[in-house]
């Protein structure tokens, strides 16, 4: 293993060559916000919250998919990045129907956390109020598309860890939505093993356990990481 030395926010740190900027920062206790990243599954660089400035690069780079390099000088909290992050979060709130007051994960929600993290006290973009569906056809779980931010963590965890590929993305642009099976009700999808990994992977209240009420549910995204290390490194305890 080759070790690289780099600077993040004026802090000199080391990372192994196969690490991403996000991982290196996390190890060094530097928090970079993300929504689509989930430990244990592949990265897609979609939410754009982890964009950082790298000296010598005119483009902002997503920390989750950018490998560390020797001598990299990175800034994660410039004024520009903070401005853009807040706008991105506002766009997310404005495009869905996020009514925290009646949501199962109120208080345990990564979208809420990110909103606080980026200092969003209101959305400057008008709310879109899209008409979206709620799928309650699965006996144990529910999918409320109103709360979905299309991070595709459920898609990846189901495909990569469970191997069932129940979820995918359908349609385009603002009409995009997470689809189960071949656009069937979730409960009708034979491929679903009811393992619940998507429930734990979901950062918002979109995929939830039935019977949970407002602010009662807790996702367990760490479980996905645990499952992966358990399989790969035979570590069976959390």
């Amino acid at each position: 293993m080759v070790v690289k030395t780099l600077i993040i926010n004026n802090q000199l740190l080391t990372a192994s060559e196969d690490q991403t900027i996000l991982e290196a920062a996390k190890d060094a206790g530097i928090d970079i916000p993300t929504l689509c990243h989930l430990d244990g599954v592949s990265d897609v660089g979609a939410c754009r919250l982890c964009l950082v400035e790298i000296e010598g690069s005119s483009k902002l780079q997503p920390a989750c998919v950018t490998q560390v390099q020797e001598g990299m000088v990175i800034q994660t909290e410039t004024e520009k990045l903070q401005t853009y992050r807040r706008m991105a979060v506002e766009l997310l709130f404005a495009e869905g129907n996020h009514v925290c007051a009646v949501c199962v994960v109120n208080g345990n929600c990564q979208l809420q956390d990110v909103a606080v993290r980026v200092g969003m006290d209101h959305s400057r973009f008008p709310y879109q109020f899209p008409q979206r569906k709620v799928d309650l056809s699965h006996p144990q779980f529910g999918m409320d598309h109103n709360r979905c931010i299309l991070c595709t963590r459920c898609v990846r965890v189901c495909d990569e860890i469970e191997g069932a590929h129940v979820w995918d993305v359908a349609s385009r642009g603002g009409q995009s939505f997470i689809v189960s099976g071949i656009n069937q009700p979730w409960g009708d999808v034979n491929a679903c093993t009811s393992c619940g990994k998507c429930v734990d992977a979901c950062p918002t209240g979109a995929i939830f356990r039935k019977g949970s009420t407002v602010a009662e549910m807790n996702h367990d995204p760490e479980k996905i990481r645990f499952l992966v290390t358990a399989r790969e490194q035979k570590e069976w305890t959390r």
Binding site: N97, H98, V99, C100, A101, D121, R124, P126
Partner: protein, 181 residues
């Protein structure tokens, strides 16, 4: 020191934010010494007065009356606070927006779901007309400060009001001050 003129207003919301305001308990007594409460659902004042310094607005803009009042408030108030999630995000009252315009909403509520004698409510001048779309306050008028929460806890309300009494702008930042839901 001149007392600050404080108003609170209740638009399309559940009054939970005002309940939370009342949760300030004994601090309300302290507050009462520093402000003149010139307009509020908990005070019997018919018209919104002139030259208000600070107004806490609870609730979204859902009907004609809300709209008229908020415009009047803007004209007569120095600093407007969007008070609670309904004012900040339109929240639960806006869940009807997904159904469509006012007409669809009324038909659904009073005709399709009406158990006995289904009829549309209509009493011009008494029952205010619904707007086609429920909006957060800042989509209608300029808002100076946002205090989200459903409701904002009493300690957050106090942390927001106290600096205002000193003529300072509170900092709405971090988990201590920002909370949705």
């Amino acid at each position: 020191m001149k007392k600050i003129k404080l108003a609170t207003v209740w638009l399309a919301g559940c009054s939970g934010c005002h309940m939370s305001f009342l949760d300030l308990d004994e601090w309300l007594l302290e507050l009462a010494e520093k402000v003149d409460m010139v307009y509020s659902p908990i005070a019997d004042v018919k018209d919104y007065p002139d030259d208000v310094d600070v107004c806490l607005v609870e609730g979204a803009i859902a009907n004609e009356e809300n709209l008229q009042l908020i415009k009047e408030i803007r004209q007569k108030t120095k600093l407007i606070v969007s008070f609670g999630d309904c004012a900040v995000t339109a929240n639960v009252p806006a869940m009807r927006n997904m159904l469509g315009p006012a007409e669809t909403v009324l038909k659904r509520s009073y005709l399709e779901l009406g158990d006995v004698t289904p009829q549309l409510p209509q009493e011009p001048g008494i029952v205010p007309e619904l707007l086609d779309r429920v909006s957060p306050v800042h989509e209608v008028i300029k808002v100076d400060l946002f205090l989200p929460g459903c409701p904002p806890d009493a300690h957050r309300i106090r942390a927001a009001i106290e600096p205002l009494l000193q003529g300072e702008q509170p900092v709405i930042e971090g988990r201590e001050m920002i909370k949705f839901g």
